[in-house]
Protein backbone atom coordinates (compact mmCIF):
# COMPACT_ATOMS: atom_id res chain seq x y z
CA UNK A 1 0.00 0.00 0.00
CA UNK A 2 1.37 3.36 -0.84
CA UNK A 3 2.72 5.59 1.88
CA UNK A 4 0.43 8.54 1.36
CA UNK A 5 -2.83 6.62 1.37
CA UNK A 6 -4.93 7.50 4.38
CA UNK A 7 -5.05 4.49 6.69
CA UNK A 8 -8.17 4.79 8.78
CA UNK A 9 -8.26 3.44 12.31
CA UNK A 10 -11.16 1.11 12.74
CA UNK A 11 -12.40 -0.48 15.93
CA UNK A 12 -14.80 -3.39 15.80
CA UNK A 13 -16.82 -4.65 18.73
CA UNK A 14 -17.70 -8.27 18.04
CA UNK A 15 -20.05 -10.46 20.00
CA UNK A 16 -18.39 -13.59 21.24
CA UNK A 17 -20.98 -16.03 19.94
CA UNK A 18 -21.57 -15.04 16.35
CA UNK A 19 -19.45 -12.26 14.94
CA UNK A 20 -16.19 -12.99 16.74
CA UNK A 21 -16.52 -16.60 15.64
CA UNK A 22 -17.31 -15.32 12.14
CA UNK A 23 -14.12 -13.26 12.19
CA UNK A 24 -12.20 -16.32 13.32
CA UNK A 25 -13.73 -18.25 10.46
CA UNK A 26 -12.60 -15.59 8.01
CA UNK A 27 -9.07 -16.15 9.27
CA UNK A 28 -9.36 -19.92 9.30
CA UNK A 29 -10.53 -19.73 5.68
CA UNK A 30 -7.63 -17.34 4.95
CA UNK A 31 -10.09 -14.76 3.64
CA UNK A 32 -8.16 -11.51 3.47
CA UNK A 33 -9.33 -8.10 4.65
CA UNK A 34 -7.52 -4.87 5.48
CA UNK A 35 -5.47 -4.91 8.69
CA UNK A 36 -6.82 -1.52 9.75
CA UNK A 37 -9.51 -3.12 11.88
CA UNK A 38 -8.85 -3.74 15.58
CA UNK A 39 -11.25 -6.18 17.19
CA UNK A 40 -12.58 -6.01 20.74
CA UNK A 41 -14.39 -9.10 21.95
CA UNK A 42 -17.57 -8.57 23.97
CA UNK A 43 -20.17 -11.05 25.15
CA UNK A 44 -23.03 -9.53 23.16
CA UNK A 45 -23.82 -6.58 20.94
CA UNK A 46 -26.18 -5.59 23.78
CA UNK A 47 -23.09 -5.07 25.94
CA UNK A 48 -21.70 -2.42 23.60
CA UNK A 49 -22.88 0.85 25.05
CA UNK A 50 -23.20 3.31 22.15
CA UNK A 51 -21.02 5.56 24.24
CA UNK A 52 -18.17 3.18 23.41
CA UNK A 53 -18.57 4.27 19.80
CA UNK A 54 -18.62 7.92 20.80
CA UNK A 55 -15.57 7.38 22.96
CA UNK A 56 -13.80 5.55 20.16
CA UNK A 57 -14.34 8.49 17.83
CA UNK A 58 -12.99 10.81 20.50
CA UNK A 59 -9.91 8.68 20.82
CA UNK A 60 -9.36 8.84 17.11
CA UNK A 61 -11.20 5.92 15.60
CA UNK A 62 -12.19 6.88 12.08
CA UNK A 63 -14.75 4.12 11.96
CA UNK A 64 -16.50 1.94 14.51
CA UNK A 65 -18.15 -1.40 13.81
CA UNK A 66 -20.56 -3.16 16.09
CA UNK A 67 -21.37 -6.67 14.92
CA UNK A 68 -23.75 -9.08 16.58
CA UNK A 69 -25.82 -12.17 15.98
CA UNK A 70 -28.61 -12.03 13.44
CA UNK A 71 -32.01 -10.99 14.80
CA UNK A 72 -33.51 -13.96 16.58
CA UNK A 73 -30.15 -15.70 16.93
CA UNK A 74 -28.87 -13.79 19.96
CA UNK A 75 -27.19 -16.08 22.43
CA UNK A 76 -28.91 -14.03 25.09
CA UNK A 77 -32.24 -13.95 23.28
CA UNK A 78 -32.71 -10.18 23.05
CA UNK A 79 -29.37 -8.42 23.22
CA UNK A 80 -29.14 -7.58 19.54
CA UNK A 81 -32.69 -6.25 19.46
CA UNK A 82 -31.83 -3.74 22.16
CA UNK A 83 -28.55 -2.97 20.41
CA UNK A 84 -30.50 -2.27 17.25
CA UNK A 85 -32.67 0.31 18.98
CA UNK A 86 -29.80 1.95 20.82
CA UNK A 87 -27.66 2.20 17.72
CA UNK A 88 -30.50 3.40 15.54
CA UNK A 89 -30.75 6.41 17.84
CA UNK A 90 -27.01 6.92 18.29
CA UNK A 91 -26.70 6.81 14.55
CA UNK A 92 -29.20 9.61 14.09
CA UNK A 93 -27.54 11.59 16.82
CA UNK A 94 -24.11 11.35 15.22
CA UNK A 95 -25.57 12.16 11.85
CA UNK A 96 -27.37 15.17 13.26
CA UNK A 97 -24.28 16.51 14.99
CA UNK A 98 -22.21 16.26 11.85
CA UNK A 99 -20.41 12.96 12.15
CA UNK A 100 -21.00 10.98 8.97
CA UNK A 101 -23.30 8.16 9.98
CA UNK A 102 -21.33 5.81 7.72
CA UNK A 103 -18.58 5.87 10.31
CA UNK A 104 -20.68 3.83 12.71
CA UNK A 105 -21.50 0.49 11.16
CA UNK A 106 -23.82 -1.98 12.84
CA UNK A 107 -24.61 -5.30 11.25
CA UNK A 108 -25.29 -8.93 11.99
CA UNK A 109 -22.66 -11.55 11.22
CA UNK A 110 -23.20 -15.17 12.13
CA UNK A 111 -20.48 -17.60 13.14
CA UNK A 112 -20.63 -19.09 9.67
CA UNK A 113 -20.33 -15.82 7.81
CA UNK A 114 -16.57 -15.54 7.62
CA UNK A 115 -16.78 -14.37 4.05
CA UNK A 116 -19.38 -11.80 4.86
CA UNK A 117 -17.24 -10.54 7.73
CA UNK A 118 -14.24 -10.05 5.48
CA UNK A 119 -16.40 -8.36 2.85
CA UNK A 120 -18.04 -6.07 5.34
CA UNK A 121 -14.70 -5.05 6.85
CA UNK A 122 -13.18 -4.46 3.45
CA UNK A 123 -16.08 -2.35 2.24
CA UNK A 124 -16.24 -0.41 5.48
CA UNK A 125 -12.51 0.31 5.48
CA UNK A 126 -12.78 1.72 1.98
CA UNK A 127 -15.81 3.83 2.84
CA UNK A 128 -14.09 5.26 5.88
CA UNK A 129 -10.91 5.80 3.93
CA UNK A 130 -12.91 7.89 1.50
CA UNK A 131 -14.42 9.90 4.35
CA UNK A 132 -11.05 10.80 5.81
CA UNK A 133 -10.16 11.34 9.46
CA UNK A 134 -12.91 11.53 12.06
CA UNK A 135 -13.82 15.14 12.81
CA UNK A 136 -14.45 14.83 16.53
CA UNK A 137 -11.16 13.42 17.66
CA UNK A 138 -9.74 14.86 20.85
CA UNK A 139 -6.90 17.18 20.03
CA UNK A 140 -4.26 17.27 22.66
CA UNK A 141 -2.08 20.33 22.10
CA UNK A 142 0.38 19.12 24.65
CA UNK A 143 0.92 15.93 22.75
CA UNK A 144 1.59 17.75 19.53
CA UNK A 145 4.14 19.94 21.23
CA UNK A 146 5.88 17.01 22.81
CA UNK A 147 5.87 14.68 19.90
CA UNK A 148 6.95 17.40 17.52
Amino acid sequence: MSENVFQPKIVAFLCNWCSYAGADLAGTSRTQYPPNVRIIRVPCSGRVDPLFALKAFQDGADGVMVLGCHPGDCHYQQGNYFAQRRYALMHRLLEFTGVESERLFVDWISASEGKKFAQVVTDFTERVRALGPVPIKRQTPALQEVSA
Partner: protein, 288 residues
Protein backbone atom coordinates in the same frame (compact mmCIF):
# COMPACT_ATOMS: atom_id res chain seq x y z
CA UNK B 1 -53.17 38.95 40.18
CA UNK B 2 -54.43 36.59 37.52
CA UNK B 3 -57.04 33.92 37.99
CA UNK B 4 -54.34 31.30 37.53
CA UNK B 5 -52.24 32.77 40.32
CA UNK B 6 -55.24 32.86 42.59
CA UNK B 7 -55.94 29.17 41.98
CA UNK B 8 -52.30 28.17 42.45
CA UNK B 9 -52.13 30.05 45.72
CA UNK B 10 -55.34 28.62 47.00
CA UNK B 11 -54.29 25.08 46.10
CA UNK B 12 -50.94 25.65 47.80
CA UNK B 13 -52.59 27.13 50.86
CA UNK B 14 -54.98 24.22 51.15
CA UNK B 15 -52.32 21.59 50.76
CA UNK B 16 -50.17 23.23 53.41
CA UNK B 17 -53.04 23.95 55.78
CA UNK B 18 -54.30 20.37 55.53
CA UNK B 19 -50.84 19.03 56.06
CA UNK B 20 -51.03 17.18 52.72
CA UNK B 21 -47.58 18.39 51.84
CA UNK B 22 -44.69 19.99 53.63
CA UNK B 23 -43.61 22.19 50.77
CA UNK B 24 -45.11 23.60 47.61
CA UNK B 25 -42.75 24.23 44.71
CA UNK B 26 -43.87 27.08 42.50
CA UNK B 27 -42.63 30.39 41.21
CA UNK B 28 -42.11 33.76 42.88
CA UNK B 29 -40.65 37.07 41.82
CA UNK B 30 -37.16 38.04 42.97
CA UNK B 31 -36.23 41.51 44.20
CA UNK B 32 -35.55 42.71 40.67
CA UNK B 33 -38.80 41.31 39.37
CA UNK B 34 -37.38 38.16 37.83
CA UNK B 35 -39.47 35.04 38.08
CA UNK B 36 -37.72 32.23 39.93
CA UNK B 37 -38.51 28.96 41.71
CA UNK B 38 -40.11 29.33 45.10
CA UNK B 39 -40.41 26.89 47.95
CA UNK B 40 -43.38 27.57 50.15
CA UNK B 41 -43.39 25.85 53.52
CA UNK B 42 -46.05 27.90 55.31
CA UNK B 43 -49.63 28.39 54.21
CA UNK B 44 -49.26 32.12 54.76
CA UNK B 45 -46.40 32.27 52.32
CA UNK B 46 -48.59 30.95 49.53
CA UNK B 47 -49.18 34.59 48.60
CA UNK B 48 -45.62 34.68 47.24
CA UNK B 49 -46.56 32.36 44.43
CA UNK B 50 -46.98 33.85 40.98
CA UNK B 51 -47.70 32.59 37.50
CA UNK B 52 -46.74 34.13 34.20
CA UNK B 53 -45.44 33.07 30.81
CA UNK B 54 -41.94 33.74 32.14
CA UNK B 55 -42.27 30.61 34.30
CA UNK B 56 -40.19 28.54 31.96
CA UNK B 57 -38.27 26.08 34.12
CA UNK B 58 -39.25 22.52 34.93
CA UNK B 59 -39.89 22.43 38.64
CA UNK B 60 -40.27 18.66 38.59
CA UNK B 61 -36.46 18.59 38.69
CA UNK B 62 -36.66 19.66 42.33
CA UNK B 63 -38.62 16.52 43.23
CA UNK B 64 -35.30 14.69 43.22
CA UNK B 65 -34.37 16.75 46.29
CA UNK B 66 -37.34 15.35 48.16
CA UNK B 67 -37.48 11.73 47.03
CA UNK B 68 -35.61 10.19 49.92
CA UNK B 69 -36.17 10.24 53.61
CA UNK B 70 -33.89 12.94 55.05
CA UNK B 71 -33.03 10.86 58.10
CA UNK B 72 -33.72 7.37 59.31
CA UNK B 73 -37.17 7.16 60.79
CA UNK B 74 -38.44 10.26 59.04
CA UNK B 75 -40.91 9.60 56.25
CA UNK B 76 -40.23 10.71 52.70
CA UNK B 77 -41.48 14.30 52.47
CA UNK B 78 -44.64 15.00 50.57
CA UNK B 79 -44.38 17.77 48.04
CA UNK B 80 -46.69 19.74 45.79
CA UNK B 81 -45.33 21.00 42.52
CA UNK B 82 -46.65 23.47 39.96
CA UNK B 83 -46.36 22.08 36.45
CA UNK B 84 -47.02 22.96 32.85
CA UNK B 85 -48.16 20.16 30.51
CA UNK B 86 -44.59 19.37 29.45
CA UNK B 87 -43.43 19.34 33.06
CA UNK B 88 -46.28 16.98 33.92
CA UNK B 89 -44.84 14.46 31.48
CA UNK B 90 -41.71 14.53 33.58
CA UNK B 91 -43.83 13.55 36.58
CA UNK B 92 -44.90 10.47 34.65
CA UNK B 93 -41.29 9.83 33.66
CA UNK B 94 -40.18 9.90 37.27
CA UNK B 95 -43.11 7.72 38.26
CA UNK B 96 -42.13 5.17 35.62
CA UNK B 97 -38.53 5.28 36.73
CA UNK B 98 -39.65 4.77 40.30
CA UNK B 99 -38.03 7.95 41.52
CA UNK B 100 -41.16 9.28 43.15
CA UNK B 101 -44.26 7.72 44.58
CA UNK B 102 -47.55 9.06 43.39
CA UNK B 103 -48.88 9.38 46.93
CA UNK B 104 -46.00 11.64 47.93
CA UNK B 105 -46.54 14.18 45.20
CA UNK B 106 -49.40 16.57 44.62
CA UNK B 107 -49.41 17.93 41.13
CA UNK B 108 -50.80 21.41 40.59
CA UNK B 109 -51.32 21.41 36.85
CA UNK B 110 -51.55 24.71 35.07
CA UNK B 111 -53.47 25.14 31.85
CA UNK B 112 -50.66 26.37 29.69
CA UNK B 113 -50.68 28.97 26.97
CA UNK B 114 -47.00 28.61 26.30
CA UNK B 115 -44.04 30.01 28.14
CA UNK B 116 -41.67 32.75 27.11
CA UNK B 117 -37.95 33.20 26.95
CA UNK B 118 -36.80 36.84 26.93
CA UNK B 119 -40.32 37.95 26.13
CA UNK B 120 -40.76 35.64 23.18
CA UNK B 121 -42.86 32.52 23.05
CA UNK B 122 -40.65 29.47 23.26
CA UNK B 123 -40.35 27.91 19.82
CA UNK B 124 -41.80 24.56 20.90
CA UNK B 125 -44.75 26.37 22.47
CA UNK B 126 -45.74 27.88 19.13
CA UNK B 127 -46.66 24.43 17.86
CA UNK B 128 -47.53 22.67 21.12
CA UNK B 129 -51.17 21.66 21.25
CA UNK B 130 -51.17 20.39 24.79
CA UNK B 131 -52.99 22.71 27.11
CA UNK B 132 -53.87 20.51 30.05
CA UNK B 133 -51.25 18.45 31.89
CA UNK B 134 -51.45 14.65 31.48
CA UNK B 135 -51.37 14.24 35.24
CA UNK B 136 -52.56 16.56 37.98
CA UNK B 137 -54.34 16.63 41.29
CA UNK B 138 -55.55 20.18 40.90
CA UNK B 139 -56.10 21.73 37.52
CA UNK B 140 -55.56 25.45 37.33
CA UNK B 141 -57.78 26.83 34.58
CA UNK B 142 -58.20 30.31 33.18
CA UNK B 143 -61.64 31.89 32.83
CA UNK B 144 -61.31 31.87 29.07
CA UNK B 145 -60.26 28.66 27.36
CA UNK B 146 -56.76 28.84 25.95
CA UNK B 147 -56.50 28.77 22.20
CA UNK B 148 -54.71 25.86 20.64
CA UNK B 149 -52.47 26.75 17.73
CA UNK B 150 -53.33 25.01 14.49
CA UNK B 151 -49.78 24.02 13.77
CA UNK B 152 -48.69 20.66 15.10
CA UNK B 153 -45.09 20.04 15.82
CA UNK B 154 -43.69 18.87 12.49
CA UNK B 155 -40.13 19.29 13.71
CA UNK B 156 -39.55 21.57 10.74
CA UNK B 157 -36.51 23.17 12.37
CA UNK B 158 -34.89 19.80 12.91
CA UNK B 159 -35.82 18.58 9.45
CA UNK B 160 -34.23 21.67 7.96
CA UNK B 161 -30.95 20.93 9.68
CA UNK B 162 -31.15 17.35 8.51
CA UNK B 163 -31.11 18.61 4.96
CA UNK B 164 -27.70 20.15 5.48
CA UNK B 165 -24.49 18.33 4.67
CA UNK B 166 -22.71 16.62 7.56
CA UNK B 167 -20.01 19.23 7.27
CA UNK B 168 -22.51 22.04 7.70
CA UNK B 169 -24.04 20.36 10.69
CA UNK B 170 -20.64 19.75 12.24
CA UNK B 171 -19.74 23.40 11.73
CA UNK B 172 -23.00 24.51 13.28
CA UNK B 173 -22.55 22.39 16.36
CA UNK B 174 -18.85 23.15 16.67
CA UNK B 175 -19.78 26.83 16.82
CA UNK B 176 -22.50 26.25 19.35
CA UNK B 177 -20.57 23.85 21.57
CA UNK B 178 -17.54 26.13 21.38
CA UNK B 179 -19.29 28.52 23.78
CA UNK B 180 -20.17 25.75 26.22
CA UNK B 181 -18.43 26.20 29.56
CA UNK B 182 -19.46 22.76 30.86
CA UNK B 183 -21.27 24.43 33.73
CA UNK B 184 -23.79 21.55 33.63
CA UNK B 185 -26.72 23.91 34.11
CA UNK B 186 -28.53 22.00 31.36
CA UNK B 187 -28.07 18.74 33.19
CA UNK B 188 -28.92 20.17 36.57
CA UNK B 189 -32.14 21.74 35.31
CA UNK B 190 -33.28 18.53 33.64
CA UNK B 191 -35.70 16.27 35.51
CA UNK B 192 -34.39 13.27 33.57
CA UNK B 193 -30.77 13.82 34.59
CA UNK B 194 -30.43 12.46 38.06
CA UNK B 195 -27.58 9.99 38.02
CA UNK B 196 -25.63 9.83 41.24
CA UNK B 197 -22.52 10.60 39.24
CA UNK B 198 -22.72 11.69 35.64
CA UNK B 199 -20.74 9.70 33.10
CA UNK B 200 -19.05 12.98 32.21
CA UNK B 201 -17.60 13.22 35.71
CA UNK B 202 -16.81 9.61 36.57
CA UNK B 203 -13.21 8.65 37.17
CA UNK B 204 -13.73 4.89 37.15
CA UNK B 205 -14.66 4.08 34.47
CA UNK B 206 -13.07 7.08 32.83
CA UNK B 207 -15.27 7.94 29.89
CA UNK B 208 -14.20 11.47 29.12
CA UNK B 209 -11.63 14.01 30.08
CA UNK B 210 -12.27 16.84 32.51
CA UNK B 211 -11.08 19.24 29.83
CA UNK B 212 -13.34 22.07 28.76
CA UNK B 213 -12.44 21.57 25.13
CA UNK B 214 -14.63 21.06 22.12
CA UNK B 215 -14.39 17.25 21.90
CA UNK B 216 -15.31 16.85 25.55
CA UNK B 217 -18.19 19.27 25.16
CA UNK B 218 -19.33 17.32 22.12
CA UNK B 219 -19.11 14.07 24.06
CA UNK B 220 -21.01 15.54 26.94
CA UNK B 221 -23.89 16.93 24.92
CA UNK B 222 -24.25 13.93 22.64
CA UNK B 223 -24.02 11.57 25.59
CA UNK B 224 -26.62 13.57 27.48
CA UNK B 225 -28.95 13.68 24.49
CA UNK B 226 -28.57 9.92 24.06
CA UNK B 227 -29.34 9.30 27.70
CA UNK B 228 -32.49 11.33 27.23
CA UNK B 229 -33.57 9.48 24.10
CA UNK B 230 -37.16 8.46 24.66
CA UNK B 231 -37.05 10.21 28.03
CA UNK B 232 -36.94 13.90 27.15
CA UNK B 233 -40.27 15.61 27.78
CA UNK B 234 -39.48 18.62 25.63
CA UNK B 235 -39.67 21.22 28.41
CA UNK B 236 -36.50 22.87 27.05
CA UNK B 237 -35.34 23.76 30.56
CA UNK B 238 -31.81 22.80 29.47
CA UNK B 239 -31.85 25.47 26.81
CA UNK B 240 -33.57 28.05 28.98
CA UNK B 241 -30.96 27.81 31.72
CA UNK B 242 -27.93 27.73 29.43
CA UNK B 243 -25.86 30.83 30.20
CA UNK B 244 -24.32 30.52 26.75
CA UNK B 245 -27.62 30.18 24.88
CA UNK B 246 -26.71 26.89 23.18
CA UNK B 247 -29.74 25.52 21.26
CA UNK B 248 -29.73 22.22 23.14
CA UNK B 249 -33.40 21.57 22.53
CA UNK B 250 -32.57 20.80 18.91
CA UNK B 251 -30.71 17.65 19.92
CA UNK B 252 -33.55 16.50 22.08
CA UNK B 253 -36.16 17.39 19.52
CA UNK B 254 -34.30 15.47 16.84
CA UNK B 255 -34.38 12.37 19.03
CA UNK B 256 -37.99 12.95 19.99
CA UNK B 257 -38.80 13.08 16.31
CA UNK B 258 -36.98 9.81 15.66
CA UNK B 259 -38.49 8.10 18.67
CA UNK B 260 -41.93 9.14 17.51
CA UNK B 261 -41.27 8.01 13.94
CA UNK B 262 -39.60 4.71 14.83
CA UNK B 263 -41.49 3.64 17.89
CA UNK B 264 -44.59 5.83 18.00
CA UNK B 265 -43.64 6.78 21.52
CA UNK B 266 -44.20 10.04 23.40
CA UNK B 267 -42.48 10.46 26.70
CA UNK B 268 -44.68 10.76 29.72
CA UNK B 269 -48.06 9.89 28.22
CA UNK B 270 -48.53 7.63 31.20
CA UNK B 271 -46.32 6.07 33.86
CA UNK B 272 -46.72 2.49 32.61
CA UNK B 273 -45.75 2.26 28.94
CA UNK B 274 -42.22 0.96 28.51
CA UNK B 275 -39.99 3.61 26.95
CA UNK B 276 -38.38 2.64 23.63
CA UNK B 277 -35.00 1.67 25.05
CA UNK B 278 -36.57 -0.51 27.70
CA UNK B 279 -38.25 -2.80 25.21
CA UNK B 280 -37.93 -4.11 21.67
CA UNK B 281 -39.88 -5.64 18.88
CA UNK B 282 -38.55 -8.80 17.21
CA UNK B 283 -40.09 -7.79 13.89
CA UNK B 284 -38.58 -4.38 13.50
CA UNK B 285 -35.52 -3.78 11.36
CA UNK B 286 -34.16 -0.30 11.86
CA UNK B 287 -31.84 1.67 9.61
CA UNK B 288 -28.35 1.14 10.99
Amino acid sequence: MSALEEQIRSAARQYLENGDVSVVIGYERGPKGKVRPAFVHQADDAERLVWSPECNLNLVTYLHNYKHSPRRGVPVPRVAVVVRPCDARAVNLLLHEQQIKRENVKVIGVTCAGSEVDGELRQACTVCQERVPVIYDVLVEPEQPVEVPEAQDDYGDVAEMESWTPGERLEYWAKEFDRCIRCYACRQACPGCYCFECVAEQVFPHWTSIALELPEKYFFHVMRAFHLAGRCVGCDACEVVCPMDIPLSKLNRMLAKEVEALFGYHTGDDPETLPPLATFSPEERLRL
